[in-house]
């Protein structure tokens, strides 16, 4: 028998916490309407669109080459990959041949971009979890990649480097050697990250078993990239639907075991390793000279029809769907935005969690708002 009246339960006020759009750890302008009861989340509603620029609408009024700079602004941490995804779709549609050297240069910059993006994730994630130093360490390393990109295309963030049928510039003299040096440097640095972060008890306590989901959920929600692979499902488009020259390289697809935040963090680290492997191989076998831009018509006209092709972006499958009427501008351009689709699972992940886990889970989903809102 209880001495306390059954009806007389502890009633705490349900509180509506508005996380964002200006909040340090929402990685941009994401707004989360979080309903909390005490410290437990009862419901979450992501509100997006603050950065919506109507890229898809704008593209309808632009010639194909003019769209490339717009893709820079999607996932601004991985602009090279965005560039490539668009060019790749157009090349597929037009059945264009890309010169060898251009393909190699593309793979090198894309994998370097993936490294830069993953480094950024690691830094930002650790900053979310309260560790400040890794953020500055990764910035120092990322800076070197950015500098290398600056040398090859003259921009630090919005590269606009890829062209339909190749790349804009050949590598300047000595650039490839610099990349090789950087790969060696980062390989050594890699151990530092591993030891500084992966073995940290507090970090493990905050990420192990947090924000778990299984492969089935991930596939049902259309997740891709590391979010899907963290559940142990080796779905990597570089292997599953090889594009460019990825079939020539030897690399592994690291997968997670538990589908938790720790796996997602660790996969980023492992993928950096694999990307460096690819870059190393590409540096070895790149033709020493040759054209970097294939024979393409002056005015790019995609034959009428509809085309979709996706590549393995830094955050998942990045795809472009183009409907063409055979003109120099697309009739409709749709972007398959990995961050946008990955973010859908967030309310499911957060429900029932403690408010303190919000940041750990949101950070590990790894979104870039420029892409989510497009």
């Amino acid at each position: 028998m209880s001495l306390i009246d059954e009806k007389d339960q502890v009633r705490t006020e349900e509180m509506l916490l508005n996380l964002g759009p200006q909040h340090p750890s929402t990685h941009g302008v994401l707004r989360l309407l979080v309903k909390i009861n005490g410290e437990t989340i009862t419901d979450v509603e992501p509100v997006i669109g603050y950065l919506h620029r109507g890229t898809e609408k704008l593209a309808e009024d632009l010639q194909y080459t003019q769209i490339i700079p717009y893709t820079d602004r999607l996932d601004y941490l991985a602009a090279m990959l965005n560039n490539y995804a668009l060019c790749h779709t157009i090349e597929q549609a037009m059945d264009l041949e890309v010169p060898e050297r251009a393909e190699y240069l593309r793979v090198i910059v894309m994998e370097m971009q993936r490294v830069a993006s993953h480094l950024m994730f690691i830094g930002a994630y650790l900053l979310d979890l309260g560790a400040m130093s890794p953020f500055l360490y990764v910035f120092a390393d990322r800076e070197q990649i950015v500098q290398l990109f600056n040398e090859i295309c003259g921009a630090r963030l919005t590269y606009n480097y890829m062209r339909v049928g190749g790349v804009k510039w050949d590598a300047p003299p000595g650039w490839l050697e610099k990349v090789a040096d950087f790969v060696q440097y980062l390989k050594q640095k890699f151990h530092m990250y591993d030891e500084l972060i992966t073995g940290n008890e507090i970090f493990l306590a905050r990420t192990r078993g947090i924000g778990r989901f299984d492969t089935e959920t991930a596939l049902a929600y259309g997740l891709s990239g590391i979010n899907l692979r963290s559940t142990g499902y080796p779905w990597d488009l570089r292997r599953k639907k090889p594009y460019s020259i990825y079939d020539r390289f030897d690399f592994d697809i690291p997968v997670g075991q538990n589908g938790d935040c720790f796996d997602r963090y660790y996969l980023h680290l492992l993928e950096i390793k694999e990307s460096l492997r690819i870059v190393e191989q590409a540096l070895k076998s790149i033709p020493s000279s040759g054209p970097v831009l294939g024979k393409v018509p002056k005015m790019i006209r995609v034959p009428a029809g509809e085309y979709y092709s996706g590549i393995e972006g830094a955050r998942g499958e990045l795809g472009f769907y183009i409907v063409s009427e055979g003109k120099d501008k697309p009739y409709r351009l749709k972007i398959r935005k990995p961050s946008f689709i990955n973010l859908q699972l967030l309310p499911e992940l957060l429900r029932g969690q403690s408010i303190a886990n919000v940041i750990a889970i949101l950070g590990a989903v790894d979104i870039v708002l420029g892409e989510v809102d497009a």
């Binding site: 049902a220 509809e306 009427e325 009739y331 409709r332 859908q344």
Partner: protein, 211 residues
Amino acid sequence: MSEDREHRTPPKGPEGKEPSVTAAERPKPVSKPAAASGAAVKPAPPKKAPPPPDPRVEAAKAKAEEIRKFIDQQLSTEAVVETGAAHIHPMLLIRKEDWVAVVELLKRSDAYQLNYLECMAGTDYPNYIEVVVYLQSTELGHFICLKTRTDREQAEIPSLCAVHPGANWEEREIYDLLGVTFTGHPDLRRIMLDDDFKGHPLRKDYSAWEA
């Protein structure tokens, strides 16, 4: 909106007829001449002599036919309106009423297991709005394109949320930007634009000045 857009005449394909709305009923914006479809099947460039057909396209068409037979067997014979190829991938145009049933059938069927919604897009054509999904079988490797069409004025398509939860936000985005109502969607609200935004920007007759 550029003048160029207003007066473009897309190539007319044999499949350009809108399935549920006759030509007389369809809306005609004053500045928009009658324009036909977005040419779902890749037609050969009209200027030159037709090059030899791409074997990949032929294979895709054959596979689409095969899938159609499968669907006809399992569901009604009218579910698939037409088949073809979207670039090099099999394409099936599904009747709106059977949209969810077909997607679900293909997801559950052992032969195809199209369990992964890879891309979902809506396109505004002059006579109709088309919603297209690219489905992937992560186990078997099939990759096909399914489409359905709806009237522009009363754009309404059954929601795929129950089959593919990942379609949720994509459908909201299409609703937001193209004005297609997805019946049975759990939470159909605008996602990118303000709740009180007027119009649907991705429609070809949208004008920022009129709104």
